[in-house]
């Protein structure tokens, strides 16, 4: 198992972990930094200050309970639908490729693509604001029509893993072999 620290497109630090289970099975997982306590406290404090200000203006205590409700619901929604803990790519030779994204609340979203549908794994370029970023994607083919590309599936979408071309190339060569 090997691990390395890199930077995401947005600038945050992410960790890439590579594991090899057997000759034809490998897993690549990208981990995001955890939810920071200070950002959580900052958000909560700002919401509650605003609610208290409204309460002072309107003298309606419903505002305070509404603020608590909003904070709780917002936190649950954020943890369950927005905050990604880890994204992993499991490559099983001759079976297929599986992509899992796990959220901070424990929810896991899995997609499995069979090997017969995978045409190739490539590195694509995209222009994002003022820079060019490279991202991995899988080219899918219709098994009945091996010469056409039916879909392009970008990998590691949520984490926006990006760094030098070399690292992507390493993953690509590993996957293709």
């Amino acid at each position: 198992m090997e691990e390395g620290m890199y930077r995401a497109v947005s600038g945050g630090r992410i960790a890439l972990q590579r594991r090899q289970y057997s000759a034809s099975c490998r897993e690549f997982s990208v981990r995001c930094p955890r939810l920071q306590l200070r950002s959580l406290s900052a958000a909560t404090c700002s919401v509650w200050l605003a609610a208290y200000g409204l309460f002072v203006l309107s003298q309606n205590s419903m505002v305070l309970s509404a603020a608590i409700f909003i904070t709780l619901i917002g936190l649950i929604v954020y943890l369950h639908f927005v905050k990604i803990d880890q994204e992993s790519l499991l490559v099983i030779g001759s079976l297929g490729i599986q992509m899992t994204s796990s959220y901070a609340s424990g929810k896991e979203n899995t997609t499995f693509i069979e090997m017969s549908q995978v045409k190739d794994v490539v590195i694509n370029e995209a222009i994002y604001m003022q820079k060019v970023i490279y991202y991995l994607c899988i080219l899918l083919q219709d098994p009945r029509e091996p010469h056409g590309v039916s879909e392009v599936v970008p990998l590691f979408q949520k984490v926006k893993y990006f760094d030098h071309k070399a690292r992507d190339q390493r993953i690509t060569t590993t996957v293709c072999n």
Partner: protein, 576 residues
């Protein structure tokens, strides 16, 4: 070369024996369905397999041997198992062996004519046999037509699911049977069945026959010539209640048909229709029990007449306002008075008609409310029809205003062309220049001026009544949308997704289990269920929804020109 073995997790503790299942040569994978135990006679095993193969159409054979030794490796057993490979010739012969309680099995292959000298790599995939058997794979649209497992391009997972699902007959024998073959599979502890389900299956046959007979009576009455005469057939086509009743009749006919469902889609459709009808009738009865309590029908009837009166009074006030100086605009006095008086007389007629009906309203409502027991959708359709009847005068006013405005616009456009010296060529469907005589030009210009200065009055009446009509149309549309929602929501599929999510599978997911170097790769295959959105989309019942058939731009154009609009036209049945 990679060899994949799909092994059912229920057979992991089985005694030593033979592995039977299906070998898929294109994908180099073996799907193990059961384990045959000692003692057995090879001839009987072969006979049994060919029988099962005939019934299930699955290419079943003996794949290899399975040895589960509680003590240390037994040499004698190994030799015996190798000899078996000569009796049941299968290329390649898979040998799985498990020692004691170890999690890590060893897998080797025995080939008479080794095709490639390379080392084989093994992948052991555990799967839950019962869940895979019951589940239905929903591939994405690119692979929807690969239902035939004969083609080489069939999806591998589809082949695995197909194999297990078709081998139901194999799972019917359990260890308490006295047959010559002893099998281990998911049902070998005893065949599962529910007595309630069996009783219901037996009872449903005569019930279906009775229902079919009743429905055929009802539909023959409906189709009789008496009801097809012109005024009646026109009324039936306009009333949404009749349409809704017709749909429900069709649904009942689908459920009560004697033919068994051919495939999964038809079965789910029948189940969805059944659950939808049940919920509909339950909600309808609930509504009925609420309505008939505390004389609510009487209260409703008592408030209906005052409400109708109130609407008429509001309309009269509106017309008085239009006949005066509406919003500061100065109307043409004479035309204003004519139109206003005409509409006021209409309202007077309508009010007298309502007052004529008032003693019978309560009785009519009482009997009409009884029809809510046919379902909530029927009750809502009746409500929509009652609204349509009560606002019939608004519809009439809209039609008058629209026709007048339309005529005026056409006249204006034609005279405008005359003004500029052009003419509409009907033959060539285009505008041509034309030389008019002086008297034609004079009269044309005069009429044009008259129509132009009378335009604001007509336009204002048209605007007011169109807005009222649109309001009524929007309310009716909302009711119809609700009815359509109840009609087409696949409740059974959604509940199935909630409670037995493995039955509706979108794909699978693999989990890598503990590994030991030197042993085959161990994976666990689990079912990834469909998302709720795709469940609703896949299993939606035919919707008879009346979506607006015009886009916004064409609607605006029609409004401007004065054409009559029917935005909620019932379109023809939408095929799934």
């Amino acid at each position: 070369m990679v060899l994949k073995v799909f092994f059912p997790s229920c057979c992991a503790t089985a005694e030593s024996g033979l592995l039977i299942g299906r070998w898929i040569p294109e994908q180099n994978s073996a799907v193990v369905l059961a384990v045959v135990h000692f003692p057995f006679i090879p001839g009987q095993v072969k006979q049994y397999l060919s029988e099962v193969q005939r019934v299930t159409q699955v290419n079943m054979c003996v794949l290899g041997s399975w040895s589960n030794s509680k003590q240390e490796k037994e040499e004698v057993l190994d030799k015996f198992l190798e000899d078996l490979s000569t009796i049941f010739s299968h290329e390649p012969w898979i040998q799985l062996s498990k020692e004691g309680d170890s999690k890590f099995w060893s897998c080797c292959i025995f080939q008479k004519y080794p095709s490639s000298p390379k080392e084989h790599e093994f992948i052991l995939v555990y799967y839950d046999q019962r869940k895979v058997m019951l589940s239905q794979l929903h591939p994405t649209d690119s692979l929807t037509t690969s239902a035939d497992h004969k083609g080489n391009d069939a999806s591998e997972l589809g082949a695995v699911f197909d194999t297990v699902a078709k081998s139901k007959v194999l799972f019917m024998t359990d260890r308490y049977d006295d047959g010559p073959i002893k099998l281990t599979h998911w049902q070998s502890e005893g065949v599962e069945a529910s007595i309630i389900v069996e009783l219901m299956k037996q009872a449903s046959v005569p019930v279906c026959v009775l229902l079919t007979f009743l429905l055929s009576l009802v539909s023959s009455v409906c189709k009789s010539r008496v009801l097809k005469f012109w005024p009646l057939s026109f009324i039936w086509s306009k009333l949404s209640t009749c349409e809704q009743l017709g749909h429900r009749l069709e649904h009942l006919q689908i459920i009560s048909s004697n033919r068994k469902a051919q495939n999964q889609t038809q079965l789910m459709r029948k189940a969805n229709i059944f659950v939808s009808l049940l919920i509909d009738v339950a909600l309808g009865i609930l509504l009925m029990s609420w309505l008939y309590r505390e004389n609510r029908i009487g209260q409703l009837a008592d408030t209906l007449i005052p409400v109708a009166d109130h609407i008429a009074k509001e309309l009269q006030d509106l017309l008085q306002w239009l006949m005066g100086v509406p919003a500061g605009l100065k109307m043409n006095r004479a035309l204003d008075q004519v139109l206003g008086r005409f509409f006021l007389y209409h309202i007077h007629l309508w009010i007298s008609y309502i007052h004529l009906m008032s003693p019978f309203i309560e009785m009519i409502l009482w009997y009409v409310g009884l029809s809510a027991c046919l379902g909530l959708t029927v009750a809502l359709s009746i409500l929509s029809d009652i609204i349509a009847l009560l606002t019939f005068h608004i519809y009439c006013f809209y039609v008058y205003g629209a026709r007048l405005y339309c005529l005026k616009i056409y006249g204006l456009s034609s005279l405008w062309r005359l003004f500029r010296g052009k003419k509409w060529n009907v033959l060539r469907q285009r505008v041509d220049s034309c030389s008019y005589d002086l008297d034609q030009l004079f009269i044309g210009t005069l009429l044009f001026t008259i129509l132009l200065f009378l335009l604001p009055t007509t336009a204002l009446y048209y605007l007011v009544f169109t807005l009222l009509r649109l309001l009524v149309v929007v309310v009716q549309g909302l009711i119809h949308l609700l009815v359509d929602l109840i009609d087409s929501l696949p409740l059974y599929s959604v509940i199935l997704r909630l409670c037995r999510s493995y039955r509706l599978a979108a794909s699978v997911k693999f989990r890598v289990l503990e590994q030991k170097p030197g042993k085959p790769l161990r994976l666990l295959m689990q079912i990834n269920p469909l998302s709720y959105g795709s469940v609703v989309q896949t299993y939606r019942l035919t919707s008879y929804a009346c979506y607006p058939k015009d886009s916004w731009s064409s609607l605006c154009k029609k409004l401007f020109v004065g054409e009559l609009i029917y935005p909620w036209k019932h379109k023809e049945e939408k095929q799934d």
